[in-house]
Structures are given as C-alpha cells and as structure tokens.
Symmetry: C2
Subunit: 226 residues, 2 copies
DNA sequence: TTTCAAAGTTAGACACGGCTAACATGTCAA
DNA sequence: TTGACATGTTAGCCGTGTCTAACTTTGAAA
C-alpha cells in the first residue's frame, strides 16, 4: 500500500502542498480549491483524496477538507524538488527562457528518477532557487524558507531587489522579462496609488506601472537588508 | 482519431519497429513476438493492435499479424529518436555509463517534447549514434543505415573496429565495458571455434573469449574498409 | 488428409482516473 | 432558528490498458 504515487497522485499532492502553504491558507484544504487548481471536477477530487488517504499520504474527513500527512508532504516536496531543478536545468543548460520551463517541467517531473535529479543537481552546482526565484528543496526534502516580502507590503519610495516572481503564466513572464523584471533585478518602488491603484516602479530609470495583480506576484527585499 | 499516442502505444510501436526490422524478420509481426518482447499477455497485444489500427498506425488482420503503416513507422522513429538522444545526453552531459542510460531513457522518451529533444540534439552537436552505436534518426525521422556487420560473419584473423553493441542488459554492458569492448574500440578477431564454439578476440593484446551469444551482439567493420 | 500443438482471439473481469446527475451537508444571513 | 446557496459526496458511467480462462484458427507432422 506504499507504492510510488502515480503521476496524477503527484499532481494532487503538489496542489495540496501549494494550497496549504499559501499566504492566507487554513490548515485543511477545500475539495473545491483542489478541483479549481487542477481543473478537475469535485467528485474526481473526493475520490482521489480517499485513495491518497488509503496510501497514508493525506488525512481526510468527509466534508472537512484534507491535509497532507508527513509522508504526503515528503512526496510533495520530492516532486517540487524535481520540478524546480528541471526548470533550472532547462534554463541554464538548454537555453529555455523562464517562460518556457514550466510546462516542460510539468511533464518531466513525473518521469525523472531520484538518481537523475541528483545528477542534474550536482551538474548545476546545487542551486538554491529556480528561474522564478522559487526555493528548491534540498536532498533532505526540507523547504528552504524565503525571507522576501510582497512588493505591496513595502513603503514607497524604496530600493529593492526582486527575489521571486510568483507566476507560471508564460505571457506574463514574457512581458515582465522583456522589461527586465526578474529575480536579481534591482528596482525602485516609486509610488503606490491608493484605492487598489497601480504600483509605479523604476528599473534602469525607466518607469513601469503595474496593476495590483501583477505587483502582488513580485517578492522583493529592500536593498539595505543585506 | 489522430491524437498523440499514449506511452503504452509508443512502446508497442517501438516493439513493432524493432521486430519488423530484425535481421531475419518477415513483413508481418506475430502477436506472440510482441507479447514476449513487452512482457505482456497475448490478449493485451491483440486489443492494442486493434486500437492502433483504428488510429491508422498499424495494419492488422486477425490471425495474420501486424505491420506498421507509414504513420506508425514515423511515430516509432520519433520515439526511437527521443530514446537515443536521451541516452547520448545522459551519457555525455550527466556522466551516466552506457549500462545505465537505457532504463532512464525508457521512461523519459514518453515525457520529452519534440522541442526539448531538438534542443538536446543541438546541445550535443547533432550526434549520429547513441552510446551503444545505435543510429539516431534525424529530425526528418529517417533511419540512417548502418554498414557494420556481425562479428560472426567476419573471416578470422581480421582487424576490425567495433561499431555497435546490440544489448540493453546492463550486466552484459558492464562486463563488456570493463574489458574495453565498446563502439570505436579496435579489436582483432583471432579465431572462431567450430561447433558453436567461442570467438577469441584480442583487445590491447589481451585475449578474450566470447560465447556466440555475446559475439553475435557485436557489429564491426574491418579496419581497412575506411 | 487428419490431427494436434502452438498461436490467436473472444469474453469477461479489474484498477485507475476521469466524468455527469442527483443527493447531502454546512454555513451565513435574515 | 431557518432557509438558501455554496460546497461536498454518492452513484453510476466511460475509456484505457491490463489480466485469466475458454474457445478458435493455423499450419506442420504423421
């Protein structure tokens, strides 16, 4: 009863991990939230949760949502580690842009062995972050914590460094990338318009106005924090 | 009705290709031969052949065996191309030995996109052969012909170069590799014992005696043929 | 020409992972 | 406290790809 999770099961575990570690998330995760995230019907989710519980990866109670067990969390982190290392590998070794890596990694993460991923890790020099700035769990499958904060929580004006861009949408990533907005880039938060207005930032002395949606995807650290 | 073949379907197409291009193969391939090669039951094969026929990849008639259609052949070659390029990639870029590459490639071949494989191909400098000396179909999906002959067809004594080692068994490959028997290695066929006896070869002036089984896996070219 | 073993197919089952339709439960607002 | 509506589950279906058991066909030897 403890076989390797199927590709589908891995996707559920990843979704569960992401939803339960989201900024404002509760302990237990909704059936609906999982269904929405994976674009599946709710009954499909119910049935997979029961199956994952039988495998000891999820704790689940009818009408009460689900949570990862310690084992489930480990499996989720194993997949996330694979996903992010593959992203770095595609980016650095094969010239993929950061907007292209996600979809390819989404398929490969279910096919690469633990051995292969460790060799990729070594070939890359044991990177800590993927091309989007997402932290890569180490071989011990613990998630590194990330001390960056949301751009919208900064008091303008302020010089910050972009640490992480929390989007997987390739159109968004292309648009940001063309403007130099990527992890490591130094930017200046100039102004935050009230009433959910845009954020004005400056990068290389060029002004860019970002809607709140986009701005909230940027995780930054004040320059003097180092 | 012309979707991308499933991972299973790809395995059947590869098997069909291998069996129908084997040295002494007939036009049509047995159900049993496929079942044996894939370690599946015969009824499973019958049912998949019907499905592949419906997809236009295989021509099949009850009790008459099966053959690839032009489309099926193309799909088979696409998978073989992926498999062999992945093998080269693992070997050259990630330090895999030639006895390790097959199993990993067997899983990855179903997950890599055409785009990724083309980038790997370019990163490797468009190799013509995989680590076992098997020819890699080009982007146009045509199989390069291979002018090497079986070691057992050579008249000893004769200096030859090993061109290809037709085994996927890692124990066999390790044993051969430890003795320097790999594509590119120059060897001397010293003697062929009669009555299905061993082949005596010399490599770096060291004598090695190979059973017919092993010897028949070696494809070579006489040194003066270049 | 007959027969019989090997090869092939059909029938029917199962696990997996989806789905829709219908029913059950929870929760918030009145 | 009680609806009403959002959320969740159950029931039952489907397609894929596998299996075993039972039956059919083929083809080669007698």
């Amino acid at each position: 009863m403890n076989r390797t999770p199927s590709a589908s099961a891995e996707d559920y575990l990843k979704a569960l991990y992401a939803l339960s570690t989201a900024p404002d998330a509760s302990e237990r995760v909704n059936t609906k939230a999982i269904a929405d995230r994976l674009s599946l019907s709710q009954p499909s989710v119910t049935s997979m949760l029961k199956s994952l519980q039988k495998q000891g990866l999820v704790s689940y109670a009818s009408y009460r949502g689900a949570a990862l067990t310690a084992d489930g969390r480990t499996e989720a982190l194993r997949v996330i580690r694979k996903h992010r290392l593959i992203e770095v590998f595609l980016h650095r070794m094969l010239g993929y842009s950061w907007s292209e890596v996600h979809d390819e990694a989404e398929r490969l993460e279910h096919a690469v062995s633990d051995t292969l991923i460790d060799r990729m890790d070594a070939a890359l020099g044991f990177p800590d972050f993927d091309p989007h700035g997402d932290p890569i769990p180490g071989r011990d499958l613990t998630m590194r914590s990330h001390d960056a904060v949301c751009l919208l929580e900064i008091e303008p004006p302020c010089e910050v460094t972009i640490k992480r861009v929390m989007s997987q949408d390739s159109a968004v990533l292309d648009w940001l990338g063309q403007r130099g907005i990527r992890p490591g880039a130094p930017i200046r938060l100039v102004h935050l318009s009230p009433f959910d207005g845009p954020a004005e930032i400056a990068i290389d002395d060029r002004a860019i106005h970002l809607g709140r949606g986009l701005a909230s995807m940027l995780r930054v650290r004040p320059v003097d924090a180092d």
